[in-house]
Assembly symmetry: C2
Homo-oligomer: 553 residues x 2
Amino acid sequence: MPDQKLKVIPLGGLGEIGKNMMILEYADDIVIIDAGLMFPNEEMFGVDLVVPDISYLEKRRHKIKGIVITHGHEDHIGALPYILSRLDLPVYASKLTGGLISVELKQRGLKKAARVNVVHAGSEITLGYFKIEFFSVCHSIPDAMGLVVSTPVGVVVHSGDFKMDFTPVLGDPADLNRLARLGTRGVLLLFSDSTYVELPGYTPSEKVVGDALDRIMAEASGRVIVTTFASLVSRIQQVIDAAARHHRRVFVTGRSMIGIVKMAMETGYLTVPPDILCNFDDVRKLPDNRVVFLTTGSQGEPTSALVRIANGEHRQIHIASGDTVVISATPIPGNEALVNQTIDRLFRQGARVVYDKLTQVHVHGHGSQEELKLLLSLVRPKFFVPVHGEYRHLSLHAKLAETMGIPRDNLFVLEDGDVLELDRDAGKITGHVQSGNVYLSGLLTGNLNDAVLHDRKLLAQDGTVTIVGRVNTRERKLIGRPEIIMQGFIGDGAKKQALLKRGCEAVMSAMDSDGQYWQKKSSIEARMKKSLADFLYHETRRHPVILPVVFEG
Amino acid sequence: MPDQKLKVIPLGGLGEIGKNMMILEYADDIVIIDAGLMFPNEEMFGVDLVVPDISYLEKRRHKIKGIVITHGHEDHIGALPYILSRLDLPVYASKLTGGLISVELKQRGLKKAARVNVVHAGSEITLGYFKIEFFSVCHSIPDAMGLVVSTPVGVVVHSGDFKMDFTPVLGDPADLNRLARLGTRGVLLLFSDSTYVELPGYTPSEKVVGDALDRIMAEASGRVIVTTFASLVSRIQQVIDAAARHHRRVFVTGRSMIGIVKMAMETGYLTVPPDILCNFDDVRKLPDNRVVFLTTGSQGEPTSALVRIANGEHRQIHIASGDTVVISATPIPGNEALVNQTIDRLFRQGARVVYDKLTQVHVHGHGSQEELKLLLSLVRPKFFVPVHGEYRHLSLHAKLAETMGIPRDNLFVLEDGDVLELDRDAGKITGHVQSGNVYLSGLLTGNLNDAVLHDRKLLAQDGTVTIVGRVNTRERKLIGRPEIIMQGFIGDGAKKQALLKRGCEAVMSAMDSDGQYWQKKSSIEARMKKSLADFLYHETRRHPVILPVVFEG
């Protein structure tokens, strides 16, 4: 066994939320933990999805032994279609996670078959120097797992995304005893989920939501429409159970909700009593207080079933007075406006809307401060690397670990691309590798960069003005009037006409025949651009993007 | 006295947050309540500010008797420069509000002198048929007022923005006895603030924040940097008081913070013990635990003092280990990412950052459900119009009023532009007047419209591609190769070169000489545009904005 250091290299999810990806490297072996995507923020114009830059891995493809996935959320599996089309690797995941990966790969059109190996809590696999054991954790999706990775340097524990739910709706609570035994034997390094480190206390159990749904279905005099994340199978179970208790039948709508309910029933993750699910013809025959609609749209996605209902555009479901709509989810940061708009429209149509600000119809899936402390106190790691969070989350989590007795020198607040090298006694950040965002947009995979996005931002700011001029460079003069086209700069009207006319004149009077710029086409264009920009700024105090085109002849 | 109906017409702030403006109209008299602005949302590209469309008022300028302002926040006073440049009207406001209006008018360059009349709690003014009395309310700015408007049809009460703070830091608590007496005599209509109707219980008193600031200043071993809204004078007072108690001196930085501290000291709204404020030379001589910095930047504004500190770009202040930064504010919706980024950068520099998610270092200025109920139960209005909120807030507030015994027929959930007509017995929505957004952007006041903003959105989505072709229409052919320019569409590289080359060829092969389109320049342009759009979509699955230009000759 070579006496080398263990390298820890995050490629996503540290210093930002989403596209989680962590690398463990020892000698000639690399293991990847998770391969997630990130949804674009509002500055990433025209971007469909963001995945991690894997240049580091592409240069070391022969070293990589496999990808281990903790659970089936997009921010942990969503980069697999991108990565598996570039690196041919085995994937290890739990049964439900594997099912979701297959759906993901099919949707995103990965051509070749992926090698997905199903593991379960208690499974042990060996990938080169790494021996990996899986344990159950509770999260807002069933079949989520944490990892115990034995390495030549020591044991590494990865929490995955987790909370300590002692009364989960589906699956087992986290195996605390196993973690405690590990802690006693000695753990080298813990990675732990920092997403909710800002919240004091404990995250409530999923059970709280079941009680709230029960009350709503009991009290509602009319139909109940519930939306949640399609992958939150345990919540779907709660909706079905509450409906059954109150003698309501459930009609499922929205493509991904229908797909996941079907898959979860087939794989045994969802238990549906007979005669609960129904089609829309059945619904029509039922009195309103016997009906539940389960629908997509919890994030206000513009084409989702709930949004079409809210806009009065759904083929089957139209809001009537007496309807209760339950938004059993919180908006993911960035989606607040879409969700609020949907709620407003439902209110306008006369529905009663119940959402997280009013009633606890959602609990999230990440541990709060006391749960994070509990994990730290059980695992008692020598070194600690907080994962999954923006810098403040990682920083606060490291401080929390310090209050639990981990020496400051053994806490590493890493960011994507940092290389942490560990031996049994000490750790050090020794370098930084290429990391960052790869933007996916239509078929333009990898052809967008920050410069393009910056250009789009400028175009959005004040629109664009194109000026086309015919020139005779020998005689050093413009031929006729240049043509100006404005797009997204100013509304039609007298002001626009005046700017077009006077802008043209400003450019013409700037092109005097004795200028140096006549010698080169690019200089003529620069001269036209500057004179028009100056004129427009003087008139409007704005800076549209100006595109000059010069034609000889 | 003519026997007519009272018209209630909101022109801003109902169905959306911000740019508050309400009109009361009776016979030939109009009174305006508040004239606020709204900051642009992320879809309003290039817009500096949004003010209400006042077409309705401009057509009735002879009727308008004046503008009454409830308090000095931008969403209540910020449209005054725009409105007073179009309508010459007297303004009535409290002393501090008047001071803030003067600052606003000067900053936004209103040329002529505005007629601002100072009123105070207990003042009574008569504007045509309307007799208006002012009463104190508590809000997150001193000198905020509600209104009692006596009209020929009955008494109208307007809450302004308010909460029920029985231990305010500055000013008087709301005059509940006055409201109770009014309620006993009979109130026709109540307008009440709906902003925080989603929150159960009571909003905590400002006092809670004072205690938190006290604790932080006592415990911090180093410098304390506090940021808050510059207009939140009571919070500034709390910072100064806490600093004084812990023998710290205060250095004020950031243009608007310096300006408002000066103005508030001069007008007596801020009480500063001697030897508390200091300049930066004094700071250098003090030990760290004797220093407080009071700064702008609570919303992560890119050029504010705190953001410059966070970026290591402030001329005087550089973060050192041991510094504590207190964000004594919440992000206004839309500013979350900027604020989080600032917090992350401060953590990166080694500061401890205390913000609302961790400690109660801010309370907001609006009443929660129990306070709203208290107001309703004191005023006991016959009719109720919830104001200040998106549709769900107004709708929830109306439902709250219904639980307090107001009949459903007497509750009016209005939106901007609705006309509500009231007599002593009944009310009815009788129409809708022109209302909406006027976009201010540089000097382009009123020259932007939704079509321009839509064009900007399209430009941002996939950028723009310009194609310029010389044609000979007589011979029905292109002269040479068209020129294609891409902006914000694709990054430089081989793929871009290939698209330029093959795009050109696609257009050339589409321009066959027997087409109908040769007869008109616009048809030739349309043909070029469509052929290029089809080619680019096929290659990239994206839709850039295509601008065709055709030149004869």
